[in-house]
């Protein structure tokens, strides 16, 4: 066991959002790390100049989905999964439930790679009780997996309901 405590622990303060967070204090919002900015620039800047690259602003769901479809069409599985994980983490962090739901409601599951679909389900799993559209999205993913990977669909989705 290592004993080190560089920064003292502070209890969660009230926030300007008007409620007291149930978890850790909100860190200061700051620009994305270079690696993440590079991801977005690399992926999309040439085609979508208006892509948000600051966590203070959430992406437009439809533009964001177009970006995701394009990555999948190009076979860029890793960047597509990263994009899902980081974007939804930010959206949930910022409590942008409506944007999460809009993405889940309008996502075309036939245009996304299997790992990307699973990343969407896994990253939203912890917020499943507050995301109204997640169950319908799950059902569409399940239907596709039963079509394409019938023998393993149940194993892949077992813990994600």
């Amino acid at each position: 066991m290592l004993f080190r405590d560089d920064a003292p622990f502070h209890p969660p303060p009230p926030t300007e959002l008007g409620f007291r967070p149930r978890s850790m204090p909100y860190p200061e919002r700051r620009p994305l790390p270079r690696r993440r900015r590079n991801l977005i620039v690399h992926v999309d800047r040439a085609r979508h100049d208006e892509v948000d690259d600051d966590r203070r602003s959430a992406p437009d769901p439809q533009k964001w989905l177009l970006q995701l479809y394009r990555l999948c069409a190009d076979g860029k599985r890793g960047p597509a999964v990263d994009l899902v994980l980081y974007t939804f983490d930010d959206l949930l962090f910022l409590r942008q439930k409506e944007r999460c739901d809009e993405i889940l409601r309008t996502a075309d599951v036939d245009r996304l790679m299997i790992e990307v679909l699973l990343a969407l389900l896994m990253e939203t799993f912890r917020a499943r009780s507050v995301l109204d559209e997640r169950q319908a999205f799950f059902d569409r993913v399940e239907a596709r997996l039963r079509r394409e990977r019938a023998e393993r669909a149940e194993a892949m989705l077992r813990g994600l309901r």
Partner: protein, 233 residues
């Protein structure tokens, strides 16, 4: 549940230069510490980068999440949990994201005893961190998997064990000694006094040996002892 009565020794392997390259996405690792202390973490590797090195993600102590390549040769044993390859792929990516947030980023994670499944704020998706709320090295690993729909253990089956009280008292004292916030120490102490359930590192590592997850208490305890017997000193 398909649990081997005597887990095959080759499912728990020493982490060496010769075996580390066999980690393709994720694995569980465990090593012995001082006395009866043991430590568990997650090995992960970027599955899209053949040149990427294996990284160890673990909760070392209060506000100290670790993310670095393990030193080799090591005293770690490793095992690969039985999850579908597509799930393992996403989990490996998730581990990298957690490292970005909690090691290279500005989030912190407290050390505490009580684990009740709900380790993430459901709305914000960040680890609970109120006074007295946090994780151990073992529950950190459990939380990473369970919070993303891939639970390793049937955590509700665990009960407080008398022999864990001394370890929990040591944790409370260590938190006090390291200057943790007094409110946090008090809350953790209350957890210990009330009889917090301890998930032992070897019981979490046992999930790497079984074909079907999540693993129940009886099997995890039994396989955990099997693993401890094989830990390098």
């Amino acid at each position: 549940m398909n649990v081997p009565l005597a887990p095959a020794p080759d499912r728990v392997r020493a982490l060496t230069d010769a075996t580390v390259d066999e980690v393709s996405t994720i694995a569980l690792v465990i090593k012995a510490g001082a006395g009866t202390q043991r430590h568990v973490g997650i090995l992960h590797k970027d599955p899209d980068d053949a040149r990427a090195s294996v990284q160890l993600l673990d909760l070392r102590w209060h506000h100290e999440v670790g993310a670095q390549a393990p030193r080799l040769p090591s005293r770690y044993l490793w095992a690969v949990p039985s999850v579908e390859p597509e799930i393992a792929y996403v989990l490996a990516k998730l581990c990298k994201k957690i490292a970005d947030q909690y090691v290279r980023g500005d989030r912190r994670l407290a050390y505490a005893l009580k684990y009740a499944g709900a380790t993430f704020d459901r709305g914000a998706g960040i680890f609970m961190n109120e006074a007295g709320r946090g994780l151990t090295c073992a529950t950190f690993v459990m939380a990473v998997f369970a919070s993303h729909g891939a639970p390793l253990l049937h955590w509700a089956e665990w009960q407080p064990r008398e022999e864990d009280r001394a370890w929990q008292a040591q944790v409370v004292q260590a938190l006090r000694d390291c200057g943790a916030d007094e409110g946090h120490v008090t809350a953790v102490n209350e957890e210990a006094q009330q009889g917090a359930t301890r998930f032992r590192p070897e019981e979490v590592a046992a999930a790497g040996v079984c074909d079907t997850l999540p693993l129940g208490f009886t099997e995890a305890e039994r396989i955990g002892k099997f693993i401890v017997e094989r830990l390098p000193p």
